[in-house]
């Protein structure tokens, strides 16, 4: 498995409301080399920032992030070739009118020959059982089918690492299960943020992100228990909000 390493990473952004920069992530040092890594935490805790650092979509204010030894700032193109990113909303990710066209778009840089590109795109779609939906408008697909289509477009270029930012948030139970099974069969290293704690329990290692810091890092069952405990504590610090 390729190793994703964070070394003393801090991400801060300027805001209009305050003279001090807002810290999104602070003092994160990690080495992720497990096949399945989950990231859980409250909304706005810094999960997406952590994931975007892996693909170079966000650059650290200080510290470094490397993927297989490649710095995500200095070697961003190489990093992006090796790290596929799946967004929460597939509609913002699929940029072509149909799935086939979108998968072919992914392959334009690497496969110049049109016939070869078409054949590779069909293989990528067939692998996820999507070939029968290849020529349908992306608007006519269900949420789950769209998410799998976005996944197929990312997997077509055979990345080593797959980063998924809350991929099941917009899915119903059936489609969530479909996505879960599809992810389980992939060879890539997966780093995924989620609010679905069942999905988090499938991982080899889970990070709990809280207020821009990794508050827990360990086995899934313990991480989920710690997260539940903190959520309950935040909801009911003095028993006022208890039902």
């Amino acid at each position: 498995m390729p190793a994703v390493a964070f070394d003393q990473v801090r991400v801060a952004v300027e805001t209009e409301d305050s003279p001090q920069p807002k810290v999104l992530l602070d003092a994160v040092s990690l080495r992720l080399d497990e096949a399945r890594v989950g990231v859980i935490g409250a909304n706005g805790s810094g999960k997406s920032t952590l994931l975007r650092l892996v693909n170079g979509l966000i650059q650290p204010t200080s510290g470094t992030v490397t993927v297989d030894g490649d710095d995500t700032v200095r070697a961003v193109r190489k990093v992006r070739r090796n790290v596929g990113f799946v967004f929460t909303d597939p509609l913002s990710q699929l940029v072509m009118p149909t799935g086939r066209e979108d998968v072919e778009l992914s392959l334009r840089r690497s496969v110049r020959n049109g016939t070869e590109r078409r054949s590779k795109a069909e293989s990528a779609l067939a692998r996820l059982g999507l070939l029968h939906l290849a020529d349908q408008s992306i608007y006519e697909l269900s949420g789950g089918e769209r998410q799998l289509m976005a996944l197929a477009a990312v997997l077509a270029v055979e990345p080593k690492v797959l980063v998924l930012d809350e991929p099941s948030t917009l899915l119903d139970l059936r489609n969530r299960e479909l996505l879960r099974r599809t992810l389980a069969d992939l060879d890539q290293q997966i780093i995924m943020s989620t609010h679905d704690l069942d999905l988090a329990l499938d991982m080899d290692r889970v990070l709990v992100v809280q207020e821009g810091q990794v508050a827990f890092d360990g086995a899934p069952t313990e991480a989920v228990a710690a997260y539940r405990h903190w959520c309950m504590q935040a909801l009911d610090p003095a028993g006022r909000d208890a039902p």
Binding site: L57, R77, G84, V95, P97, T98, R108, R109, A153
Partner: protein, 207 residues
């Protein structure tokens, strides 16, 4: 989000004469139709060209439904333009202007309905290649066209959603309640698309 209000017809797989025609020829036909709208002054010629293009569209197997789908979103605008021109310049001029716009839309739809988008993008790359010596990246040209084709239905769908939301709140007569959300959603969509393209390494300069 609804995204079916599409101005140009999507590709329809087939093996008609038009499907097999070279891309350059189809592109020249579209270009000629665009030029025609400036040159032709007789509405009857425009009507004849439109009828011929309509015949070709149906002959390609793309179907009447897709043809109507390409024209329908324009109908209210054409009605307004037609009535205004009729009032200002008379019936024949109004008919010529409306028919010429339809000629351009149907010709462009004919191209997109009978050409796979990747072939279309390959054509754009070929066309943009001479500009490479001035620092242009042909793949970026192609990507821009692709994103444009994809963004039209998104914005049309956003407009439909915003109109429904405004209706639900009794604000359908308030232009600000219609225009501002569409504008904000479109900007957010552009940002998300940019981020998605960057994540996939698309649109970056060639290695």
């Amino acid at each position: 989000m609804r995204g079916h209000g599409f101005l140009l017809a999507n590709y329809v797989p087939g093996n008609s004469l038009l499907h097999r025609a070279p891309l350059a020829l189809k592109f020249l036909v579209v270009l000629a139709c665009g030029l025609l709208s400036f040159i032709v002054v007789d509405w009857r010629i425009s009507a004849a060209v439109l009828a011929a293009l309509g015949g070709l569209f149906l002959g390609s197997g793309a179907g009447l439904k897709r043809l109507w789908g390409a024209v329908r979103p324009l109908a209210p605008v054409l009605l307004v333009i037609g009535l205004f021109q009729w009032w200002q310049l008379g019936g024949p001029t109004a008919a010529r202007i409306v028919l010429n716009i339809l000629v351009c839309v149907v010709a462009a739809s004919l191209l997109t309905a009978t050409t796979p988008i990747q072939q279309l993008l390959d054509g754009v790359v070929q066309l943009a290649r001479p500009f490479q010596r001035f620092g242009a990246d042909p793949e970026r040209f192609a990507l821009t066209i692709g994103i444009m084709l994809r963004s039209i239905p998104f914005i049309a769908g956003t407009f439909a959603d915003v109109r429904d939301s405004a209706k639900a709140r009794g604000l359908e007569r308030n232009p600000r309640a219609l225009v501002l959300p569409v504008f904000i959603t479109s900007v957010a969509y552009a940002r998300q698309t940019g981020e998605a393209l960057a994540a996939r390494g698309l649109g970056e300069a060639e290695d």
